[in-house]
């Protein structure tokens, strides 16, 4: 694994994403759902909303880094608000 140049922060980052994926897989099996149409007027399942959340969060973090500077904990707060909004309304 040496060649992959692991660091603790990136390992935690990937662990969080992996556990999110596993959680949503388990949720999808245990509680099958109906896709719904939200404010984007597209049909989404929980998995879709997770994808929108993660992709959007990446851009929020980049924008924060570019405009405000390297204070990612604050960007993460914005991401959480964004995530809540996506899961509530999209």
């Amino acid at each position: 694994m040496d060649w992959m140049a692991w660091t603790w922060p990136t390992a935690i980052f990937f662990a969080v994403i992996a556990s999110l994926l596993i959680t949503f897989t388990v949720l999808a099996i245990k509680f099958p759902e109906t896709p719904r149409t939200g404010i984007l007027r597209i049909e989404t399942t929980r998995g879709d909303r997770l994808f929108i959340t993660l992709l959007g969060s990446a851009f929020i973090n980049l924008a924060w880094l570019g405009i405000v500077g390297a204070q990612q904990p604050y960007a993460l707060i914005v991401c959480l608000i964004y995530a809540a909004a996506v899961f509530r309304w999209v």
């Binding site: 992959m4 140049a5 099996i29 990446a58 500077g69």
Partner: protein, 289 residues
């Protein structure tokens, strides 16, 4: 009636996922690891945090390359999509000539990318290339190694030559799937040629056209080989598209950290645009179906 969706079939893609893990996921994870570190080779890494991302976001070089890239993709889409539709509309619909056209048009798609680059690199040369020599003889100043406009025209014409067939073939497939009844109805209504196109052919082709736009956009957004062979990114940096710049940074300068940060942002943009296209496409299907 609303039905719950059973997503269990997704487990069937697990073997593919395993393969993709080795070809894409693990390399991508490594890139993420590189992007937060600095290295001077020898597999020794030093923590750099988000420094490279900040540097890249503020780097004019990356924004310029992105601008050129968007311009390139925009121009080739604006040419290839209408041209492809036009070619498909004018192709013989059946019989020997139809097959002949199909085979003829697939030919550019079969040529390896570096060969396409070499063909155009020689074709455009003023001393031995047919195109360059002819233009020069006509008194037109054409030199793609020194003139920015000539370089751009060359790589755009090359891409149009290489990929318009793909759009035409997809559009042709879309046209072939329209039942005759639609045309008969249009005839009864005495619809003009334009109206047949606008209200029958275009809506029926929408699905395949979206695929064509998505494929052409992604391919052109990631294009490397052809412009690299023809212009090498020059004159100056005039045709240095995103991937050419990325390779220069990663392999030429061995700046692994900044290049990794660059590739992650590049990847995110492609992921976003692909997702938008995919969503639009599947929603179009649902509305039609």
């Amino acid at each position: 009636m609303e039905k719950t969706v059973n997503q269990k079939a997704w487990f069937l893609v697990l073997p593919v996922l395993l393969l993709v893990a080795f070809s894409a996921v693990i390399p991508l994870m490594t890139v993420v690891n590189y992007s937060v570190q600095d290295t001077f080779g020898n597999n020794q890494f030093f923590w750099a945090g988000l420094e490279w991302f900040e540097e890249m976001l503020r780097s004019e070089r990356m924004w310029d390359a992105l601008g050129r890239q968007l311009m390139f993709s925009g121009i080739i889409l604006a040419i290839e999509i209408p041209l492809g539709i036009f070619v498909a509309l004018n192709m013989p619909k059946s019989g020997f000539w139809s097959s002949f056209c199909l085979v003829l048009m697939s030919l550019p798609l079969l040529i390896p990318w570096n060969v396409v680059g070499t063909i155009w690199q020689i074709f455009g040369r003023v001393d031995i290339g047919l195109l360059g020599y002819t233009l020069d003889a006509l008194g037109i100043n054409y030199n793609y190694t020194q003139d920015i406009l000539a370089a751009w025209v060359t790589i755009i014409v090359m891409d149009v030559w290489h990929w318009t067939s793909l759009v035409a073939l997809l559009a042709f497939a879309g046209l072939k799937s329209i039942p005759d009844a639609y045309y008969q109805a249009a005839k009864i209504d005495q619809a003009s040629r334009w109206k047949v196109f606008r209200f029958i052919e275009l809506p029926k082709m929408m699905g395949v056209l979206m695929i064509a736009i998505l494929l052409r956009f992604m391919d052109s957004f990631m294009i490397y080989t052809e412009p690299f062979v023809v212009t090498g990114g020059g004159p100056g940096n005039a045709t240095t598209l995103l991937s050419i710049d990325l390779v220069k940074m990663a392999l030429g300068q061995f700046d692994l950290g900044p290049a990794a940060a660059f590739s992650i942002m590049y990847f995110l943009v492609i992921l976003l645009i692909s997702w938008v296209f995919y969503t639009v496409m599947t929603n179009l299907d649902k509305r039609e179906g």
